[in-house]
């Protein structure tokens, strides 16, 4: 058993692409090896800012010959089937296949011999193919070459069983190919020259000596541990940020966390501004006090061990931050000199979308919509809803939001509070973009709910109106997120909002239905149950709809529910089969069966119970007590079972009896379908 070590050294790879590229390399090389019959016991891939590395363990040194047979189509089969077979077997014509009589006729057979041989001879081809297929999100040419890679590729280590594989990667143009070798380089600044490696263990150890931590997980740990101990020393706590940690780990080969200080004069700027400024522009970690408020210390992760212990680096970073925060503080001070109200005219100058007019027009639409929605939100003060909706977008023309667009809403809230506007109005301005995703906080205050719903419903209906609906892969206006936001706000706050009142487009309701189904499924719910409830049609109250779904799902989880579903299935199947034979039947079997024609005790029992069920169902549905409605069904089960045991529906000699019994079955179906379309339920 032997080991393959592969390292692709390049110029700096964007942090966001590293993890995926390492995974792709592992998958592509692994698949390539499997395709030629090479098995292995394990593979691990790593990425740093300058290299992708892969180690594959437990490979055979020599690959056995493998012979495998494939049965193809019958001799004389259509050409399409023959071509498919040839392609699948890697043959060019039927001359290479053989005919065999299997006893069930003559079939084509292909015998595929995979020649074995030294593994070392097969690996270069696998590596080359994997590199060609590696899907970088963006790739480029360099020099005079034609090869595509994320950034210029510099060298390749390819060792198998301790020996360099004979191979190279052509770069095209007049460029010399990169030959597979056993030398690599360490850290850009902390290591000089090339070194040779003999195995993965040797490689990882020598890299570490050359100031490169190969494993991103280890780099993250070094960053966290280092940052935490700095924080302990400064009596602050690191503000956890997994996304930032991932990114920073992709920016350094040798992480060195350093502590910096924010100039005290910036500490009265809102913490969100400090955090955004540090994170998005500079990739610094914020720190907090015991009560969660921000402190004036930050952590920057350098990629260098400076000879002064990092003093100059920390000072340099403090200086950059000072410049950034001076801008932020300038905007903070300037912006508060103007009221949100007086900024409204400026919204006329901002185009929201070429076909949908300006932000000012959008605000008008949102305000009108929010007013209508407020009527359905208990406790929402109409005046405050109007005020919040009108001012919701005013911060878009502030200096701060111009500089940090991600602070939209947040700044509006601060400025509103500064103007001493009602807290509910300020909060609604701050909340109205929420929820921005499944993990974001969902507005719960009445004014916030009204404005947040109006913001999203306006976006949905407006883009729908101009035909900008999301497609499978494209959703440039984040309309899926908007719909999910509406669903969350409505459901989590149990807002009884008739959505249909706010939009006319039928397919928009379908769009909502799809999102809702997804959400139910993600929470472990049954999508067929959602389908069954949606199939009723005309339901635009999501709270009621979900209550129905929940009750139905609970009912179907009981023994009674399962049995009743079987009974429903039998009844529906018989009716459907008869309807198929006789087109006019449907019209003749609607309505209640004729009591005089009920002969057997079992059919009388079903009819009696149905009447009872219907009696119980109506008030339960009216009261939206779906659990009670389901409970009413429970009594149906035994009579229906008995009916199917004892009663023959298709009595051939008494057509009126047959018709009446079909009526009875149809009534079972109709009654149950008034709660949900049970035919959509998968047994």
């Amino acid at each position: 058993m032997a080991e393959l070590l592969l390292e692709l050294l390049s110029e700096e790879i964007p942090a966001r692409m590293q993890t995926r590229a390492a995974d792709d390399l592992k998958r592509l090389v692994g698949d390539g090896m499997k395709a030629i019959g090479l098995s292995f016991t394990g593979a691990r891939a790593f990425a740093t800012p300058r290299r992708l590395a892969l180690v594959v363990e437990g490979l055979p040194v020599v690959r056995e010959d493998v012979s495998e047979e494939k049965r193809g189509p019958r001799v004389g089969a259509p050409d399409q089937a023959v071509q498919g077979f040839l392609k699948g077997a890697g043959l060019t014509s039927l001359d290479q296949a053989e005919k065999r009589d299997t006893g069930k006729g003559e079939f084509w057979f292909a015998v595929i011999n995979k020649k074995g041989g030294p593994t070392a001879e097969a690996l270069p081809g696998v590596i080359e193919a994997a590199m060609k297929a590696l899907p970088w999100p963006k790739s480029m040419k360099w020099g005079s070459g034609t090869m595509l890679w994320v950034r210029p590729l510099q060298s390749i280590v390819a060792l198998f069983d301790g020996k360099v594989l004979a191979g190279e990667i052509a770069l095209g143009g007049q460029m010399a190919p990169i030959k597979f070798g056993d030398t690599t380089r360490g850290h850009r600044f902390l290591s000089k020259g090339d070194f040779k490696v003999a195995s993965f263990a040797d490689y990882a150890a020598k890299l570490k000596a050359a100031h490169v931590v190969l494993d991103p997980a280890e780099r993250k740990k070094i960053i966290l541990d280092g940052a935490s101990s700095l924080c302990v020393g400064a009596q602050v706590a690191l503000k956890a940020d997994e996304g930032l940690l991932d990114e920073v780990a992709g920016l350094v080969e040798w992480p060195v966390p350093l502590l910096g200080t924010i100039d005290a004069k910036f500490m009265d700027v809102p913490p969100e501004v400090l955090i955004v400024s540090m994170k998005t522009h500079q990739r610094y970690f914020a720190t907090t006090k015991a009560d969660g408020t921000l402190t004036n210390r930050f952590v920057v992760v350098a990629n260098n061990v400076a000879r002064d212990g990092g003093k100059v680096i920390a000072e340099g970073n403090e200086r950059v931050l000072r410049a950034r925060l001076s801008d932020a503080k300038f905007f903070w001070d300037q912006d508060r000199k103007t009221t949100l109200e007086s900024r409204l005219p400026a919204l006329k100058g901002i185009v929201f979308h070429a076909k949908l007019g300006t932000q000012a027009e959008r605000v008008e639409r949102i305000a009108k919509l929010a007013g209508e929605i407020a009527a359905f939100v208990p406790g929402a003060d109409a005046g405050q809803v109007q005020q919040a909706a009108r001012l919701a977008k005013a911060d878009l023309v502030t200096g701060m939001v111009g500089e940090f667009p991600e602070l939209q809403g947040v700044m509006g809230r601060y400025y509103a509070l500064g103007e001493k506007l009602p807290a509910a109005v300020a909060d609604a301005i701050g909340d109205h973009y929420s929820p921005a995703g499944p993990n974001d906080r969902c507005p719960s205050a009445p004014v916030s709910i009204a404005v947040a719903l109006a913001d999203k419903l306006d976006a949905l209906t407006s883009f729908w109106a101009i035909g900008e609906k999301p497609t499978g892969s494209r959703d440039p206006f984040a309309l899926r997120r908007a719909a999910l936001g509406v669903i969350r706000i409505v459901v989590e706050n149990k807002i009884r909002l008739p959505l249909g009142k706010f939009f006319k487009a039928g397919d928009l309701m379908e769009f909502f239905a799809d999102r809702l189904k997804l959400q139910v499924r993600e929470k472990g719910g049954r999508h067929d149950v959602v389908d069954a409830v949606f199939a009723l049609g005309g339901e635009d109250d999501l709270v009621r709809l979900l209550a129905r779904v929940e009750a139905l799902q609970a009912f179907l989880g009981t023994e009674a529910g399962k049995n009743l579903l079987t009974g429903y299935g039998r009844a529906a199947n018989i009716v459907r089969a008869e309807e198929k034979k006789d087109k006019g039947l449907t019209a003749r079997i609607t309505g209640a069966p004729d009591a005089a024609l009920l002969e057997q005790a079992e059919e009388k029992a079903v009819a009696a119970v149905l009447t009872e069920v219907e009696g119980a169902l109506k008030p339960a549905l009216a009261a939206e007590d779906f659990t009670a409605a389901m409970a009413a069904f429970a009594g149906l089960r035994a009579p229906i079972d008995a009916f199917f045991d004892k009663v023959t529906v298709n009595v051939t000699d008494k057509p009126e009896l047959r018709l009446n019994r079909l009526k009875l079955l149809n009534q079972i179906r109709a009654t149950m379908d008034s709660v949900a379309d049970f035919s959509k339920i998968e047994g």
């Binding site: 360099w142 020099g143 005079s144 340099g316 200086r319 950059v320």
Partner: protein, 300 residues
């Protein structure tokens, strides 16, 4: 690192920074060119980059280019923003395998000690909608401060390049502020403090910033500028037809700057803006195609 580059003391003024970079890149085999004598928004517009990036011929050059971004003017009141500033540009085509090491050598030359500082290459792809050009690369950080842009050109004038140029751009004022630890551009020493007539950047350019800002934002005659745009556009098209890509391209540069002025005057709406950008791009594309024809014809 090439040992051709003369050793120069660490720069202490704006002009020494320029001289050091020129010496350094001359030592790397670059032609030292002079600024293009027309108003432009970035050093990339210089024919030494835009046009030379196309075609099969190798090209190493470096130059200072004054850049004008009318909309960035602040009447000399913002210590970090200018409507007229300088870029130093080095272009190496085809990009040599050690181009990053050469770049790092230039940092050593201007006095950035990599045993004390933290240099980082942070993903930053570049695109110029008006030139129909894009490339991949980084912004280079020194202790968290952006000190250069680095781009591998992939497409120019909508044409895929034959040979990739590595382009390095130093924003000179920003870099100097970093090197000399100044909070305001205007405080930068233009020449050495010990020279006979020591002058600051502000001494040289503050009045210019004030007057040009007033021109850009208040006084530029927009009717005239619209006419100039149309004239340049027409002239460019005519010259392309005459197979004179170099004068044609100058008209394209003129149109581009005129558009920037109109934009700063706030007389171009959002929708019009896109169409103006596309018009300039069409000119750039035509010029690049015409230029490329002359290059391949000569090469053949």
């Amino acid at each position: 690192m090439s040992d051709l580059s003369p050793t120069r003391a660490k720069p202490t003024s704006f002009q020494e920074l320029i001289l050091t970079l020129q010496d350094y890149w001359a030592g790397q085999g670059c032609l030292i060119l002079q600024p293009f004598d027309m108003e432009m928004g970035a050093g990339t517009f210089h024919t030494a980059t835009t046009l030379r990036a196309l075609g099969p011929k190798p090209w190493y050059a470096a130059y200072v280019q004054p850049c004008r971004r009318p909309g960035d003017g602040r009447y000399g009141e913002n210590p970090m923003r200018l409507q007229h500033y300088y870029q130093f540009q080095a272009i190496l085509k085809p990009s040599p395998p050690d181009i990053l090491e050469r770049y790092l050598g230039s940092l050593e030359a201007i006095g950035i000690d990599t045993t004390l500082h933290d240099i980082r290459f942070v993903e930053d792809d570049w695109e110029s909608p008006t030139l129909g050009a894009w490339g991949l690369g980084w912004e280079v950080w020194c202790d968290g401060s952006e000190i250069s842009q680095f781009t591998y050109f992939q497409q120019v004038g909508g044409i895929e390049v034959d040979m990739v140029a590595g382009e390095i751009t130093y924003g000179l004022e920003r870099l100097a502020m970093y090197l000399f630890d100044k909070k305001s551009i205007y405080e930068l020493p233009y020449n050495s403090a010990s020279s006979e007539v020591p002058l600051s950047y502000g001494d040289v350019f503050l009045q210019n910033e004030r007057e040009q800002s007033a021109y850009n934002f208040e006084h530029a005659d927009t009717d005239m500028l619209f006419r100039h745009f149309a004239d340049a556009e027409r002239e460019c098209g005519k010259l392309v037809e005459k197979k004179l890509p170099l004068p044609a391209y100058e008209q394209c540069i003129k149109a581009s700057h005129t558009f920037n002025l109109l934009d700063a005057r706030g007389v171009i709406s959002v929708t019009e803006r896109q169409s103006f950008i596309l018009r300039v791009r069409d000119l750039a594309k035509a010029c690049c195609e015409a230029w490329l024809a002359t290059q391949t014809a000569k090469a053949a």
